[in-house]
Point group: C2
Chain length 262, copies 2
């Protein structure tokens, strides 16, 4: 359970099965927790301003405003009007994606699985009551999705680093409608080849306890780098040493009660 | 002048000054050339299906479908419905961006330059006749924009590699409305700190001459890498050698008549 949220009771809770989507309304200051219940599960995430859905969470503005491709602790997430919509206030994983589109029916046709459930359809269904159709599902933030960037900008989808009960917590900076789908992709390693359930909870705007103590695992200091330093302009081949990718070590927030499954 | 286009006369031509945008209609099979007339100038580019502007060029689907963050020769550009909209059939530069949002009024306010011209406003004005408003300008492809990706996913805007008369040519795979703005950003190195003019031309669908002969400059083989091989999971510091970024060498298509300024 989250340190920030350990004394709180959610005011809204949704359990999401792979291929399903859920929308939740979150008021300014409230906290939104997105948690993987079994681990290695991606949460596709989109959000709109309540009552003005022409404004939505924009991954391209978020990348540009933060000058990064990686969503990380303390960062603001911005709308297409370059207004802050969320702050990332807790993150037990540190590896997420904001480059990939939602999986959709055409993607599964191309993979030889026509009719497969998809995030775009799940989010469209979840947001139907807000008048947001299939074509208007924005480019999502894919919480827990682990995408490596190779030498020439190639993208490689890897198994998520998220383990059972890992989560992110976002503080809403506007009144928003957020929607989350549990990605049903089981044909590539997006969800460790085994999609599982997610939990989404909303907590009231209350004073937060002091920030949690950070515990470092032996030998780890901070989130592992996503890509090597830029050698972009150097056309010579990389040393073989750097082709190796040792297993990740990740920064984890200490948990008050790691045995609590809620 | 382009090898593909050297014998052709454009059916539409637009000259675009920094801070301006222009929309052009391009039918299936026609060729769209976007050219920097002085060099080091970014062209923000968006496109919609003619008569059905709910379908638009999607950078996130294009990244996902090609598993890359780098637009390059031979690649298809996809719509939000995962349908091919364009193929990149010529590219004299090989370094473009599809991560950054358009510059917009809020960006310039933050830079201390309220009221500065912006790509989002220029594209909105160019597309006004098609009913596409400010909030619906998609994340663009930024032709000639040079963005380096650093070790932990940080983005760094550098001066474009494009020189005078460099260009890309796209073949339309649908009937589209495309819009291009000449980025007016003069406060950071996006346009080499000196925005200049662009040219946009549309050519008929005609049989193309054979592909141009590739000329390699001494010591160059192919486009320079954007980022080093993934050492993402290795928390040890990179060797100092790889921190250096020697000046780029770029792959250039041979030109039939390099003296022809048109």
């Amino acid at each position: 359970m989250s340190d920030l949220l350990s004394e709180k009771t959610p005011i809204r809770a949704r359990h999401i099965r792979p291929g399903q989507g859920q929308a939740v309304e979150v008021k300014t200051g409230q906290l939104l927790q997105i948690q993987t219940l079994q681990g290695k599960q991606v949460a596709d995430f989109v959000a709109f301003t309540q009552g003005d859905t022409e404004e939505f969470l924009s991954t391209s503005v978020t990348r540009a405003a933060n000058a990064t491709i990686v969503p990380k602790l303390g960062m603001m997430l911005y709308s297409n009007r370059r207004q802050p919509m969320f702050e990332i206030v807790e993150d037990t994983v540190g590896r997420h994606d904001m480059l990939y589109a939602c999986c959709d029916p055409v993607r599964y046709e191309m993979l030889g699985a026509p009719g497969h459930a998809s995030c775009r359809e799940a989010l469209t269904e979840a947001l139907g009551g807000y008048g947001i159709g299939h074509d208007r599902i924005p480019s999502p933030i894919n919480w827990f999705m682990n995408v490596a960037i190779l030498q020439r900008g190639e993208l490689e989808i890897r198994e998520p680093l998220a383990e059972k009960d890992d989560y992110v917590v976002l503080r809403a900076l506007k009144d928003v409608v957020a929607a989350v789908s549990a990605c049903p992709q089981d044909l590539v390693p997006t969800n460790g080849s085994n999609p599982t359930d997610l939990s989404v909870r909303v907590y009231r705007n209350e004073p937060l306890p002091p920030p949690p103590v950070m515990e470092e695992e032996p030998g780890t200091v901070e989130p592992s780098p996503l890509a090597a330093p830029v050698v972009a302009m150097n056309p010579t081949p990389r040393p073989a040493l750097l082709q190796a990718t040792p297993e990740a070590t990740v920064y984890r927030v200490a948990r008050v009660d790691p045995g609590d499954p809620s």
